[in-house]
C-alpha cells in the first residue's frame, strides 16, 4: 500500500465521518416544549367506555402495579394494559429517552427534577384539582412537587403520583432480641447503642446492612442518625435542592461520627462492603443480624419468611420522647407529557388511592400505606404482623411531621457517585466523617449548579 493511497483513505474516513456528523448542529433540543398551564378540568376525567390500551413502564420484581392493573381491568373492562418491565436501575438510566421517544401513559419514576427540567412529565395540577388530591395530607404529595423548570422540589406543581408511600425504620429479629434480654424496642438512641453492644458481646451481629457495589446501604442508618441528632426539615431542604442548603451541618457531623463509632465497634458485618441488598436480606432471614435498617416494602416478605419473629420500630430519638423521623417516599408514577391516554392514566392513579379493593391490594401486596385522604378507610391487617407495625409507624411519622425523602435522591448521581464510595471508604477507615460530608457537599454543589 503506497503512502499516497493510505493518506487518501484517512482523508476519506475523515470526510465521510464529518459529513455524517455535520448537519446535525449542536446536539439536543428534541425535548418537548414547555406545556401551557393546564386548563382547569370541568369534571374529573374517566377512562370512558371505548376500548383503551394503557402503556405502562414499571419496575420488575414488584408485583403491585400488575396486581392493581388486573383488578382495574376487572372493574373497567374496556381498559387493556401493555406493560413493559425493567429493573429500577435500567428505568433510571432510560427514563428521559423513553419519555421523549416512546412516551408511556404511566411510568415508574426515578428522581424527577431532571425530567421536569426537560418538560418530559405532564403537569398533574389540573387532575389534582378535579379529583381533589389537593385536600389530602400535603406531606403525601410534597416530594412530587416541583417549581417551574424543575429547580426546587417539595413545592410548586404536581408532576407525579404515588401508588402508596413507603416507610423506613429498623426491623429486628425477635428471637435474637430475647437472647440479649431486649423485650421492647429501644426508646432512645442510647438504648439502641446499649442493645447493639449487648448483641456484640453475645456474639450476634448487631446490624445487618448492605454496602457493596454501587449501592451504599449505610446511607439508611446514617440518615436515621441524622434525623435523631437534628431536625428533618434541613435534610429535606437539601434533598429538594433548596438554594443554600447544605448537608455539612454540625448535627449531621455528630450523626456521621456516631455511624463511624458503630463501624469501629464492629456492629456491621466485616465484609459489609461486599454485601449487596439481596445478600443482606437472605442473611437476615437466616437469622444473621439483630437489627436491619430497611423499608416496609419488605414487611410482607418478612411476615411470610419469618412469621411472628420480626418486629419493626422507628429510629428512636436522641432524647426520650423526642420527635421521630423516617425516610418515607411515595412509589412515584408519572404520566409522559406526550402520553396518548393521560386522562385514563390519571383516573387509574385516583382509583388506586380511593377504591377500597385497590387500597387493600396496596397494603397486602405492596406492604405500604396507601395514598389518599387522611380519613379514608384502612384495610384490615392481622395484628402482630410486621405490616401492622409499619402502618402504625406511618401514623406516628404523620403526627410528628417527620417524613423525609432519602438523601440518596438529592440528585441523579449523588448515590452511586458520592454517598456510596464515601461510605465504603468510611467503612475501610479511609475517610473521616468531616471529609465525608464535605466531599458529598462539594459533589452536590457541582451537580446542582453544574448541569
Amino acid at each position: 500500500m503506497s503512502r499516497r493511497t493510505r493518506w487518501n483513505g484517512a482523508a476519506l474516513a475523515v470526510v465521510m465521518g464529518g459529513t455524517l456528523a455535520a448537519g446535525c448542529g449542536a446536539p439536543g433540543g428534541d425535548a418537548p416544549q414547555p406545556e401551557a398551564p393546564s386548563a382547569t378540568l370541568a369534571t374529573a376525567p374517566t377512562c370512558g367506555t371505548a376500548p383503551v390500551t394503557l402503556n405502562a413502564y414499571v419496575e420488575t420484581g414488584f408485583p403491585l402495579p400488575k396486581e392493581l392493573s388486573s383488578e382495574f381491568s376487572k372493574q373497567h373492562p374496556n381498559v387493556k394494559w401493555n406493560i413493559r418491565e425493567d429493573q429500577f436501575a435500567v428505568i433510571t438510566q432510560n427514563a428521559p429517552r423513553v419519555l421523549a421517544d416512546d412516551p408511556p401513559d404511566l411510568m415508574r419514576l426515578p428522581q424527577v427534577s431532571e425530567l421536569v427540567k426537560n418538560n418530559l412529565l405532564k403537569n398533574l395540577d389540573g387532575y389534582a384539582k378535579a379529583f381533589g388530591w389537593d385536600s389530602w395530607p400535603a406531606s403525601q404529595l410534597e416530594q412530587m412537587r416541583m417549581t417551574p423548570g424543575g429547580k426546587t422540589r417539595g413545592e410548586g406543581s404536581l408532576y407525579a403520583m404515588g401508588l402508596n408511600f413507603s416507610m423506613t425504620g429498623v426491623f429486628y429479629n425477635k428471637k435474637l432480641a430475647a437472647k440479649i434480654g431486649m423485650s421492647s424496642p429501644p426508646a432512645t438512641l442510647a438504648e439502641l447503642d446499649d442493645a447493639l453492644a449487648k448483641a456484640k458481646s453475645a456474639g450476634i451481629t448487631p446490624i445487618a446492612q448492605f454496602n457493596g457495589g454501587a449501592t451504599g446501604g449505610l446511607a439508611f442508618p446514617l440518615q436515621d442518625l441524622m434525623a435523631a441528632y437534628g431536625p428533618s426539615g434541613p435534610i429535606n431542604d437539601w434533598i429538594y435542592q433548596k438554594p443554600g442548603a447544605t448537608i455539612d451541618t454540625p448535627s449531621n457531623l455528630q450523626a456521621t461520627r456516631h455511624l463511624e463509632k458503630w463501624i469501629k465497634a464492629g456492629h456491621f458485618w466485616k465484609d459489609v462492603n461486599a454485601v449487596d441488598y439481596a445478600t443482606m436480606m437472605s442473611r437476615f432471614i437466616k437469622g444473621d443480624g439483630l437489627f436491619m435498617f430497611d423499608g416496609d416494602w419488605e414487611s410482607g416478605n418478612l411476615d411470610k419468611q419469618m412469621p411472628g419473629d420480626v418486629g419493626f420500630f422507628l429510629m428512636p430519638p436522641a432524647q426520650q420522647g423526642g420527635r421521630q423521623a423516617a425516610m418515607s417516599a411515595p412509589l412515584a408514577f408519572g404520566i409522559s407529557s406526550r402520553a396518548k391516554n393521560a386522562d385514563c392514566a390519571a383516573f387509574f392513579l385516583n382509583w388506586v388511592a380511593t377504591d377500597p379493593k385497590a387500597r387493600e391490594i396496596g397494603v397486602k401486596v405492596g406492604g405500604s400505606h396507601p395514598m389518599g385522604p387522611a380519613d379514608a378507610p384502612m384495610p384490615e391487617v392481622t395484628k402482630g404482623t410486621v405490616t401492622a407495625s409499619t402502618l402504625e409507624a406511618g401514623a406516628k411519622i404523620a403526627e410528628d411531621d417527620g417524613a423525609m425523602d432519602f438523601i440518596a435522591n438529592a440528585t441523579g448521581a449523588i448515590y452511586a457517585k458520592s454517598w456510596t464510595p464515601q461510605l465504603q471508604k468510611l467503612v475501610a477507615g479511609q475517610q473521616t466523617p468531616e471529609e465525608l460530608l464535605k466531599s458529598v457537599q462539594s459533589d452536590y454543589t457541582s451537580q446542582v449548579g453544574g448541569s
Binding site: T5, L12, G17, L20, P27, G28, N273, A274, K417, Q422
Partner: protein
C-alpha cells in the same frame, strides 16, 4: 456514544480497502492491457464502506462532536470547547479510572500471555495424549461462557463465605481470608484475576495454533546442537510466535483498557472507586450523571489511549521478513 471496540480502534488504517483495492486492480488491468473504469473498485467496496461509515465512523464523529458540548442527552446543549477534556485530566475520579485500567493490563495481558506461552508449549509437548485435549478444553472454556456469567460466578467464589476463602481456611490460612471484591486493597487484583482467567484460554489457543506452524526441523536441528527444552522454547518457539504474541498482547491490552462487563458485574466500580475503569465511568457519566459531554470526552481519550498503546505493539510485532 460509542465504546471503541477492538475493530474500530485497531483497524481503520488497515481496512480502508477502497483505495488499496483500486490501486491493485489498476496495476493488474494495465498489465493485461485492459481499461477498467476507475470507479468499479469503489462499487465493490461501497456496501461494506457504507456499513462501516454508518456504524463505526459516524458514532466516532458524533462522540467527538458531543465531547465539545455540555449536554444532558435530551435538552438543549451549550458549547464547551475543550473544557470537558480539561476536566478528564484534572478530576481525580476520572484520571484515577484511567490509571486503574493501566494497572489491569498486568492481569489482562502480561499474565495470560506468559501463562499462555507456558501452557501452550506444555500442551504441545503432550499433544498425543488425551490430557492435551482436556487441557485445551478447560483453558478455552472461559471464552465460551458469557462474561456476565463469569463475573457472577467469580463474585460467589470470592465472597467472604465463598470457595476461595473456604480453601484458604482449610489449609490454615484463615487469617488472609476476606471479602476479596469488597476490600480496598484486593478488589482491583481480584477483578484482574477474573480477567486473566477469561483471557488465558484465548491466548493459549492462539499460541497453540501458531506453534503448529513451526517447522519441526528447527527443533530437530536445535536438539542436535544440544539445546534443552528451555533453549528450544526461548530460541525457536517464542521468536516464531512473534505475530501470534502480537495479536494476544493487542487484544488483551484493549480488553484491559476498555474493560466493562467484568467490573460492572463483580464490583460496579466499588468499593469507593477502587475498581473504577474508564468504560464504567463513561457509562455512569452518560446514564446516571447525564453529562454526555464529559462522558464523550472520556470516551475519546480512551480511544486515543488504546490507539497509542496498540499501534506500537502492532508495529513492534510485525513480521518484517515478508
Amino acid at each position: 456514544m460509542t465504546r471503541p471496540t477492538p475493530d474500530s480502534v485497531v483497524d481503520p488504517p488497515a481496512t480502508s480497502p477502497g483505495p488499496a483495492a483500486v490501486t491493485r486492480k489498476r496495476g493488474h488491468a494495465r498489465a493485461a492491457g485492459l481499461r477498467t473504469p476507475r470507479w468499479v473498485g469503489w462499487l465493490f467496496v461501497a456496501p461494506a464502506l457504507g456499513v462501516y461509515a454508518v456504524f463505526v465512523l459516524r458514532p466516532i464523529a458524533l462522540t467527538v462532536q458531543y465531547s465539545m458540548y455540555r449536554w444532558d442527552g435530551i435538552g438543549p446543549s451549550t458549547w464547551a470547547g475543550l473544557g470537558n477534556y480539561a476536566r478528564v485530566f484534572t478530576d481525580p475520579d476520572l484520571y484515577d479510572s484511567i490509571l486503574n485500567a493501566v494497572k489491569l493490563i498486568v492481569f489482562f495481558s502480561v499474565i495470560p500471555v506468559v501463562l499462555g506461552l507456558m501452557s501452550a508449549s506444555t500442551i504441545r509437548r503432550i499433544a498425543a495424549s488425551r490430557l492435551a485435549l482436556v487441557g485445551r478444553t478447560v483453558l478455552f472454556l472461559p471464552q465460551v461462557i458469557p462474561l456476565v456469567a463469569a463475573g457472577i460466578a467469580w463474585s460467589w467464589l470470592l465472597s467472604s463465605a465463598g470457595l476461595v476463602n473456604q480453601l484458604l481456611t482449610s489449609v490454615g490460612l484463615g487469617g488472609v481470608a476476606r471479602a476479596w471484591l469488597g476490600d480496598f486493597s484486593t478488589a482491583l487484583p481480584a477483578v484482574g484475576v477474573i480477567g486473566a482467567w477469561v483471557l488465558l484460554g484465548l491466548c493459549t489457543i492462539l499460541l497453540l495454533s501458531g506453534m503448529s506452524k513451526i517447522d519441526p526441523a528447527l527443533y530437530e536441528a536445535a536438539r542436535m546442537d544440544g539445546a534443552g527444552p528451555l533453549r528450544e522454547f526461548l530460541s525457536i518457539t517464542v521468536p516464531s510466535l512473534r505475530q501470534e504474541i502480537g495479536v494476544c498482547v493487542t487484544v488483551t491490552v484493549i480488553a484491559a483498557l476498555a474493560s466493562f462487563d467484568i467490573v460492572y458485574v463483580s464490583t460496579q466500580g466499588g468499593p469507593g472507586n477502587a475498581t473504577m475503569v474508564p468504560g464504567l465511568e463513561i457509562y455512569y457519566l452518560a446514564f446516571s450523571e447525564r453529562q454526555v459531554g464529559i462522558a464523550s470526552a472520556l470516551a475519546v481519550v480512551l480511544m486515543v489511549l488504546v490507539l497509542v498503546v496498540a499501534l506500537p505493539i502492532q508495529w513492534l510485532t510485525k513480521d518484517r521478513s515478508s
